[in-house]
Every structure is written in structure tokens, then in C-alpha cells.
Amino acid sequence: MLKIIIPTIMLIPTTTMCKPTQLWYTTLIHSMLISLLSLQLFYPSLQPIMNFSNHNLQQNQTSTPLIILSCWLTPLMILASQNHLSTEPLSRKRTFIITTIILQMLLIMTFSTTDLIMFFVLFEATLIPTLMMITRWGNQMERLNAGTYFLFYTLMGSLPLLVALLSLYSNTNSLSILTMQLSPTMLKNTWTNSMWLLAALTAFMIKMPLYGLHLWLPKAHVEAPIAGSMILAAILLKLGGYGIIRIMSTTNFLSKTPYYPFMILALWGIIMTSLICLRQTDLKSLIAYSPVSHMGLVTAATLTQTEWAYTGAITLMIAHGLTSSLLFCLANTKLRRIHSRTLLLTQNMQLLLPLMGTWWLLASLTNMALPPTINLMGELTIITSLFNWSNTTIIITGLGTLITATYTLHMFSSTQWGELPQHIKIMTPSHTREHLIMTLHILPMMLLMMKPELIWGPLYC
């Protein structure tokens, strides 16, 4: 583990000390090397015995894909930000890259820690670099409002989480994930235990986000700069999912009743947010609402606590992380050229940028969960496990899939076909850098299609 964290931390002095002309590709190549190095974390997950030297920082099959995804995204974030930061002075560029690297480091540690309090501290700590990115480098004036919503929604949820963890500590005198599975906690079906579960899960529900608590997400995603949107959509939402899975698997909670409000909100949210997506006029806002619906599926699945559900949840988290990040990058390429996010003004891009049209097609297809992508594997597994839990959920999840396909196709058709807009007479052709970002998003998805066991989590059959 340390061989990934130390180079990441050392990337900070590298950024401050490298020559100005070499800033971007130095950081890019180094972070790419770190991410390739992190791929070897997959290895232990294929063995039955896990042997770690450190007791505090370990990983298992739940966290490994997420660690690798966060390492993989950092070079992509650096690539994507190059354009909009080109006019900034050098020190500000360095600060931005350092913020990105700090965020990566905190994320790696969050996913690999074994202690729940350390997880909590790092979970909160990831808020700070993200807030810096949104409020400092965002485009519109609304970013201040967005930053406030983002910060305070998460903090409101985290306070009960802290109390819950402390009360758990006072009961069991240890919050290590490794040993908590063995100690009997929460076995009584009392009101106190239900309140404890509510307190513990609220923070993660807000992060996921659950439908009733999702208002921060469209604001934050839309106002963030491209790197911020990427990391938010790809990883920070999955922090919530990861937290739920950890809490659920370590505390053996007996009663099912406290789960019902969350389940209902999650399932209802799938349909509602998909319908909201259909009515959106702002491209980035449309892409921002789609995670809410996919994460609704993940939330509902993790709350059922079955093997297939966990498998599907982790798969969909990874798949959706890559897809959402890809869609945001595509929207950014358009934004850079037209300076407007309105769907109406960005039609018929296929004539102007045909190869980018290919990426748009692939992104839309994966967002729709086309077979044989990993998105489909995740969604299908989740839908099946929910059907097992209760037969009527198939109506909701089926309808949700249908509407997801509808709004994805609507987004694709309005950006790619239609009347050529009058005010675009010349358009800079796609940079190789942009094609590289898209390829680097699609490549893991294609490779994972071949060997999905890597992201199927610890409980696959």
C-alpha cells in the first residue's frame, strides 16, 4: 500500500519543483505510472489468502477496484484540466494539480483503511480539496452556492455518523473492520439500534445521493470545473456506497424495518430523477442527474445485503464511475468550443466532429447499460437481487431502465443530429489530448468486460 501512497505524496514536491514547461506532462506521466503500479493491487484479490504487512492499511475486494479507479482518474483529471487552466498563472496551475493529488491521496487512504474512525476522518477530509476545486476554479457565480450546498449537506450527515461511530467504540472498544465482524453487536431489535443505523447511514445516503437528499449534486457537478466533475461523479459518490457496504457488513444488523424508508426513497428516486433528466435543458445538468438514478439502484441493492446485491453494487459503481466521468469530459469538449451548456445551441455535432461522435455513441451506449458492458452486468445483477427481495420492485427498476435509455438517447440525438447551428462557422478540431482522455476512459471498460471478476467484490459466486 505504501508503495502507492508515498509516490502520490511525493508528487506534490514534484509539482512545485519541476520546470514550468514540463509541468503538465511530468505530473501526467508520473500519475499514470502510479496508476499502473496500483493495478498490481488486483493480484491478492485472486488468491484465497491475503497477507498484509500493515494492520491499518489493507484492502479487500470491495475497496481494490475503487482504489484503482481513483488512481486511474488522476491522470485523466490532469489531462482534462489542461485546457481551461492554460490562461492561469503558473502558481495557480501548480496549486490546482496539488489539490488533485491531495484528493487522490486522501481517497486511496479512505478506501484502504481498516479503522472506521480513520475512514470517517478521511471521508470528511476529501471534502476540503473538492470544495477548493469547485469554488475556486468553477465557472459561474453560482459555484459559491454550490460549494455551500455540497459542504453542508455532507457535514449535516456526518455529525450523526461520528456520534454513531463513537457509541459503537464505547460498546466494542475497537473499530477495526477486521475484528468487528466477529464481535456480536446490534443483535437486539431495539429503537436505539434503529436510531444508530439511521445515524450511521445518513452521511452515506447523502453522499450517494439518495433521492430526497440529492439537491447538492446537480449544483456541485454543474458548477465544478471538469476535473471536479469527473472526480465527484466517479469516486466521491462511490464513497457513500463503499461506506454503506462497510457498515452493513461489519455490524450484523438484525431488524429490517429501518431499511424501508431508504429503500423506498432509493427506488422512487430512480424513476423521478430519470424523468427529471428528460426535462433538462442544460447538458451538464442532465449528465449530473443521471448518477442519482444509478446510485439509487446501488443504494437499494446494498440495503438488501445479499451476495448478488453486493456484487452488482460494486460492479455498477465502477462502471458508472467510468461512464459518468466520460460523459462529463465529452460535455466539456463541447463547452470549451461553444461557451454554452444549452442543449439547443449544440446540435448536429456529428457533422463537425465525427470522431467525437463515436465517443458520444459509446458513452451513451454504456450509460444505457447496453450488453455486454459492465454497466449491464451491474444493473442486471442488482435488478435480479431486488426482484428476489420483493417481486414488485421489477416494475420500478424496469421502468427506470426504460427511462434511462430514453433520456440517454435524447441527449445523444440532440447533440449529434438536428439543425446545424448558425453561430458555429468554424470549430477547432478535436485535440489528440481529448481523444486520449476518451480512450483512457473506454479502455478499462472494454478490458473489464473481458474479466469482470476483478470488480465483482468479495462475495461473488
Binding site: 426535462r279 435543458t281 461553444i338 454554452s340 439543425e419 468554424i426
Partner: protein, 412 residues
């Protein structure tokens, strides 16, 4: 014109809230704007079919204005439309042209009648038909209305639909440009990224990021276009062609004549170009004359030259309407025409080189009456890429480059 475009953009957008529109107004009191200083007439009698269509649609719009521009819980709009036709008088030389024009107008659906001198004398006994060979009179959809009411109706409705209104002056644009090599020459296409707006009474400059700019600045459009780089460039290239719109001062005089033509007095346009119409019901009339090229008054301010009336207009009025020999000038004002020096017709459409600047200007005195139709055409061009209802291809900027004027013969 700007508020009309803003209203139509919001009206025609496919989803509510799809576009964010901001109108930047230098002077919200509109003290020098052509719109509110206008005489407020609307006529169908033009020689270009597009102009006739625009006027027909605008008349329909004004007739049903509360359906279009009515806002819930606000008082209804009283546009004070006074329906009376325009009477164009033509001498021997102009008779053939007048008849051709009437033909074009009837083709487009306007109801215009041709009158011989005897019919004229019977209908308007106060008119001296000396030198008049034929006259055309508009039977429907012509008259005059209150320009303030229309402007504020558009503004109120647009703001209720979510258009942002900004009080400030556009001082400059930030553009980014790309070079294009064509076989003949090298072209520089530029794109406006930011509009710098200076706040009133301060040195504060606010850059506004935008994707489209609609230049509806009336007689100052030429200056605004120059800020974006239209007209500044190496000579003998496309860059060099400016927007040929400049302010021209026109006077309007109001006089009182108790024995005058009375309530049935239409807007009469004389063979000499002098025009007059009834104003109110107390025996007041207003009118004016477009000066010739040599006599163009100074545009620095809006001071009225009374000697122009005494020397140029009064004799012609007195000749045409003998009762006007004794009249008393009550007041006068001056306003600017956004005069298109190339062919005195509208400029509507985008610029070939500055990608995202659209023009809707240069109407040379008949902008107010065309504003609903022109606004709709502009909104269709922006939202759908082409003109759907009235084809305004003739009015595009490209005619300045190719050198083909779209001449309108009936300019007052």
C-alpha cells in the same frame, strides 16, 4: 428590437428555460432611442415582398397583442392603435412605380386600393390634386400606435419569461480568432467570448461570458459592430467591410390647424416626400420630410432646426393642402433613423466572419413597425438555423460583400 428578439427567443424555445437571454441597455429611459421618438406608423405599402409580409404579421401581432404579450395579473396593454391608411401620392413619373408596388403588395395579401385624381378629390376635398397622377391607399392593417406601449409590453413580457435585463454600456468584446486558408486569400474568423459591460456611473467593467451576441443597437450598431472587429481590417479584404448603419437625424413637427383636414385625414405622403398625419382629435397634425443627402443635419444632438420647417416643409404642405397655409407650429422633436447607407433596408442575419454576432438593425425608419416580425425571424434563425415563416435571406449581411442592394423604393 432587442426586447422583441428576447421575447421571441423565449417564446420559441423548445423547453422552458432552455436559453439564458440578457438584454443590455445603455439608457433605460430611452431618451435618444429611435423607438420612442418614432412617429409610430405602420404601413403595408412597401415595394419588397418581405417588407410587406413583415408589416402584415406585425399588424396581426398588434391587433392580438394581449394574447401575445399579456402578463398574468398585470393590466392589459393598450397599444392605442389608430387605424387609418397611408395615402401615397404619385406624380406622372412615379405613377408606374406606384402601380407596380401596389401589384406586389396585393400579391402578398395586403389590401391596397388605387385612386385616380377625381376619386381623390371626392374622398378628400381638402386635398389639392395638382400634379398627382395616381394615389394608393391602404385599406387595412395600417395606422399608427404608441411606440412606448409596444416597447414596454415587450420588455414586461420578456422579463416575466425570464430574460435578464442589464443596465450598462457595452464597451468592448473579447474575441478569439482562427485563421483559415482558402485558395483566394486568408480569412480570419473570430468568435466573441466575452462582452464587457460598463456599469452606469462607474468605472467598473463586467465581462459577461456569452455564446451569441445580437446587435440590436439601432443607430449605434455600426459602432458596436466595430468593437467586434467588423470593418476594421486590411483593405480589400472581407474584414474591411463595415456595417453601413449610421444615425441620421430626422425632425418631426406638430402643428395646429383648426380648419384642417379633420378626423378622416390619413397619413399622406406627398410626391415630394413630405408626410403628415392627424395627431389626436384637437386639430393637431404632425409631419416631416427626409432631407436630401446634402442637407443632412448634424447628428451630435437632438436639437430641432425650425427653419427647416419654414423653408422646406411648409411650402410643400401649403401646396398640397391649401388650408395649411395658416398653421401654428406647436412643438417639434428630433430622432435618429438607424440609416442603412447601402440600401436603406434591414440588416438581419449573422456576420460571415464574426461567427456569433447577429445583426438586426438598419431598418432606416421602419424598424418599429417591423419589430415583431423581425424579432421572430431572428429567433427562428438562432434556434432553428433557418427562417421558417418569412424568408429574410435578402437582408443578410452578405449583400454588402457581394454588392447587391435590396432596394426599397417606398422610403419616407
Amino acid at each position: 428590437m432587442g426586447w422583441s428578439v428576447a421575447y421571441w427567443l423565449k417564446c420559441l424555445e423548445t423547453r422552458k428555460g432552455a436559453l439564458q437571454v440578457a438584454v443590455i441597455e445603455k439608457d433605460p429611459t430611452y431618451s435618444k432611442a429611435s423607438t420612442v421618438l418614432s412617429v409610430g406608423g405602420i404601413r403595408q405599402q412597401f415595394s419588397l415582398p418581405e417588407n410587406v409580409q413583415m408589416s402584415l404579421y406585425s399588424a396581426f401581432f398588434l391587433r392580438t397583442i394581449n394574447e401575445h404579450l399579456g402578463v398574468v395579473n398585470e393590466p392589459p396593454i393598450d397599444i392605442q392603435f389608430n387605424p387609418l391608411g397611408y395615402l401615397f401620392l404619385a406624380s406622372e413619373d412615379g405613377a408606374a412605380i406606384l402601380e407596380e408596388n401596389v401589384h406586389v403588395q396585393r400579391d402578398q395579401g395586403a389590401k391596397v386600393s388605387l385612386l385616380s385624381p377625381t376619386q381623390l378629390k371626392k374622398k378628400y376635398p381638402w386635398l389639392n390634386t395638382d400634379g398627382v397622377a395616381v394615389a394608393s391607399y391602404g385599406l387595412e392593417n395600417e395606422g399608427w400606435f404608441d411606440p412606448w406601449a409596444l416597447l414596454h409590453a415587450f420588455k414586461r413580457k420578456a422579463i416575466s419569461m425570464g430574460v435578464y435585463s442589464c443596465h450598462g454600456e457595452v464597451t468592448s468584446f473579447t474575441t478569439s480568432s482562427t485563421e483559415l486558408l482558402t485558395p483566394e486569400r486568408e480569412l480570419t474568423l473570430s468568435r466573441i467570448n466575452y462582452v464587457h459591460v460598463q456599469m452606469p456611473n462607474s468605472l467598473e467593467n463586467q465581462p459577461v461570458e456569452c455564446s451569441l451576441v445580437v446587435n440590436a443597437a439601432g443607430c449605434w450598431s455600426g459602432k458596436l459592430a466595430e468593437m467586434a472587429g467588423v470593418g476594421i481590417g486590411s483593405p480589400n479584404t472581407q474584414d474591411e467591410i463595415k456595417l453601413p448603419v449610421e444615425p441620421r437625424k430626422r425632425y418631426v413637427y406638430v402643428w395646429h390647424c383648426p380648419d384642417g383636414p379633420g378626423l378622416a385625414c390619413p397619413t399622406v405622403i406627398d410626391t415630394t416626400g413630405t408626410y403628415f398625419r392627424r395627431e389626436g382629435i384637437g386639430g393637431n397634425y404632425l409631419g416631416g420630410l427626409s432631407p436630401t443627402e446634402e442637407e443632412e443635419p448634424d447628428i451630435q444632438d437632438l436639437k430641432v432646426d425650425h427653419s427647416f420647417f419654414q423653408e422646406k416643409i411648409w411650402p410643400k404642405l401649403a401646396h398640397r393642402v391649401p388650408v395649411f397655409e395658416s398653421l401654428k407650429v406647436r412643438s417639434a422633436w428630433a430622432g435618429y433613423y438607424d440609416y442603412n447607407t447601402f440600401d436603406q433596408n434591414a440588416v438581419l442575419g449573422s456576420h460571415p466572419l464574426v461567427e456569433n454576432m447577429f445583426f438586426i438593425t438598419g431598418f432606416s425608419g421602419h424598424g418599429l413597425q417591423h419589430s415583431p416580425a423581425a424579432g421572430r425571424a431572428m429567433a427562428e434563425l438562432i434556434l432553428e438555423g433557418k427562417f421558417k415563416t418569412i424568408c429574410m435571406e435578402k437582408f443578410s449581411f452578405n449583400r454588402f460583400i457581394t454588392g447587391e442592394p435590396a432596394l426599397e423604393r417606398n422610403i419616407i
